[in-house]
Amino acid sequence: MAQIDIPLSGRRAQDVPVQHLDTNYLNVSKGLLSWFLTLDHKRIGVMYLLGITGAFALGGLAALGFRLELFRPGMQYMTHEQYNQFFTVHGAVMVFLFIIPGIPAALGNMVLPLMLGAKDVAFPRLNLGSFYLWMIGAFFFLWTLIGGGLDTGWTFYTPYSSTLSSTAVIQATAGAFVLGFSSIFTGLNFIVTIHKMRPPGMTWHKLPLFLWGMYATAVIQVLATPVLGITLLMLIMERALGIGIFDPANGGDPVLFQHFFWFYSHPAVYIMILPAMAIVSELIATFSRKHIFGYKMIAYSSVSIALLSFLVWGHHMFVSGQSALSGVIFSAITFTIAIPSAIKVFNWLATIYRGSVSLETPMLYALEFIWLFTIGGLTGLFLSVMSTDVVLHDTYFVVAHFHYVMVGGTLFAFLGGLHYWWPKMIGRMYDEGLSRLASITAFIGFNLAFFPQFIMGSKGMPRRYADYKPDFTLYHQLSTIGTLVLGAGILMIVYTLVKSIFSGKKAPANPWGGATMEWECPSPPPHFNFEHPPHASDPYDMERVKWDEQVGGWVPVPGYQSRVHH
């Protein structure tokens, strides 16, 4: 039924795995409805990818808007209220609509079942339901934008959000509530899929590290997100009816809202970064052509980060009126998060060491990730010390810190993963030179945008201010120029990828030499992923595959016997 369109001169078909199929998941059925009603995890992944790209564009334009306003001191073309709305929209859209669903829902949906050699996730209908919840959440956010904007900051702190703000807080919180459930159901699906759909031979210790990261992420999604749900529900009730839970006038307590909010939102920070680390583990191993160093340590550090993430929420509240006792406890536990994070970085570096590193685009992103994440992580230590945090709290230092982690970390890893799996997803190769140039442009732009923010933050520039003293002008101008360069880099990336759809050369099944299972099915995969379910072995045994000039990609070594690695 399927046509193999590579020449097989002189070889039996079994020697070379099928590289392309005429009928694949992209064209197996036609029409918009076949996409909107699909239960195929790959199509759902593609739809998520389109959705989050739209959200990213919206959030990015908002950022560009207020960065241009900040180019000079004084107000140029915005009112103070508009400025508040711009940074709130940037934060809320980027967090709830882009970063949180970004890697798990878009790339995770695409890759997770393929890595397991499975036909689909455990609950395909629920998976489609999650996507529609994401859509509904996105519509609520659009409604927010049209129906009065939002100026509370993405954190919705009370009592401003519950009694003072005149913007569309209820629509926005309802949107975040619905998006929370989208995230919960994705996490639930992935937990069950990883538990129950592993192929024969894939024990927990042969699970690719991407899946360990997704599993740890899913644990957080399932445990923490419901608390956000109920918090936002209470906020809606508070705002609509004044039930008094967060209102001191009624005997309530606004600090309680911050506790509730950060009980979710701190773990949510790890929903953002754990999948990014998971991608980087794959990229580093593949492009160093070396077995990943410290497999178990990387795997367990993901899980320990997930669990520790529930014990540190109070470090967002050092100056907000929580007790000194809580401050000490949360500060101490926050230091310990550095340990599993550093374990990962050291293991990645050890993997690169003496590997045969090739700097293809995904690897470039992985290296940029290590650089940026290390800066972001180390500056986090400054903020976990209570005494320095009191000085740095709510300054641009904090802004720079979490952008280094969330953009430098998560966005760059997302882009790395996107470039890594793009040939699998679309079946086309992109222009390697152009995409490397785009990656470096984005990297330079990012550093230019955010490094000056560390300096101005430590000099006392408060975050979320629409105006500033002329002393800070230089840093703000560098930052705005950096934002424009970053934006240009992103546009180049989009251009490169879109161009590849139309004029890229056909991708082989395994263009990079990865040893995980998703590279064993054709690019793009057929509807059911695998003609014959592959047998699992060590996912980082790089000697299992060799470059084949005729195929133009990597193929399994015939009759290869895996050596024991541990």
């Binding site: 009603l37 239960l39 499975a118 036909k119 689909d120 455990a122 609950f123 395909p124 629920l126 919960i184 639930l188 699906n189 937990i191 069950v192 538990h195 129950k196 759909m197 399932v222 445990l223 923490a224 997100t225 419901p226 608390v227 749900g229 109920i230 918090t231 529900l233 209470m234 009730m237 508070e238 609509a240 009816l241 004044g242 039930i243 008094g244 839970i245 006038a249 009624n250 005997g251 309530g252 307590d253 309680l256 509730f260 509807h527 059911f528």
Partner: protein, 287 residues
Amino acid sequence: MSHDHGHGDKPFLAHHFEDEDHQFDSGKLGIWVFLVTEILFFSGLFCAYAIYRSMHPEVFVFASKALDTKWGAINTCVLLFSSLTAAWAVRNAQLGQKNRLVMNLALTIACAFGFMGIKYVEYTHKFHVGLKPGDLYAPVEGAYPEKGHGHARAVTVALDHSADPEAHDVAHEAGAGEHPVQEAHAAAPEHAADGEHGHTMVPWDDPRVPTEIKNRLKIFFGIYFCMTGLHGIHVLLGIVVFFWLLGRAIRGHFTPTYYGPVDFSALYWHLVDLIWIYLFPLLYLIH
């Protein structure tokens, strides 16, 4: 979508599972993970409850008297019985007893309606006497029953010795909300020294109790309506799910090898029951 049901002789086995046990185990893990999310979802309300009860115990003691223990207890029994029928329905499904399965599912639905009916009666009464959540709170005369809570009718109001105790009390308290900072400076040292002597006991309906303190009673109703309302929404969802099960049971879909949906829905229903088991003493039996 033909590919959904790839196994010809097993109409409800989805294509991506190997066999019925694989599908059942996956579904079972899925529903347990879902119940975990439900527990954490409700935990926020329990947390709010714990904080406010510890901050304002007198509010909870007094306001809960407006709830009718009789209806609460009856509703507990109704839900416990429905849990029994739900558990029995699983047994029927496992044993392939179609008619009894249909009967037990129908009984569960009937109990769920009974529960919601009683809740409707309770809510209607609360609204009628003005015991509504939040800003709508406007109790009519006699909203709180007179009988059975003599000890709970008292509230201790702080007195400030620096002024005339008789006249001071009400005025001082009334101003508290407006100038908390100055008040704190003025009053805190004396309090530390005087302890219990700074307080006097007055009934809740004493005219000297300032309105904003009386209005704190609405915290209780805010939490009451949030908790029971969210629980009620779960009961309604349960009704929908059990009607769906009932339809499938009548059509004979469930067999001893395929009864996952009955089992999973029953688990959800037990969790709804479990939450009520805690809500009942926490809301109705405070003293």
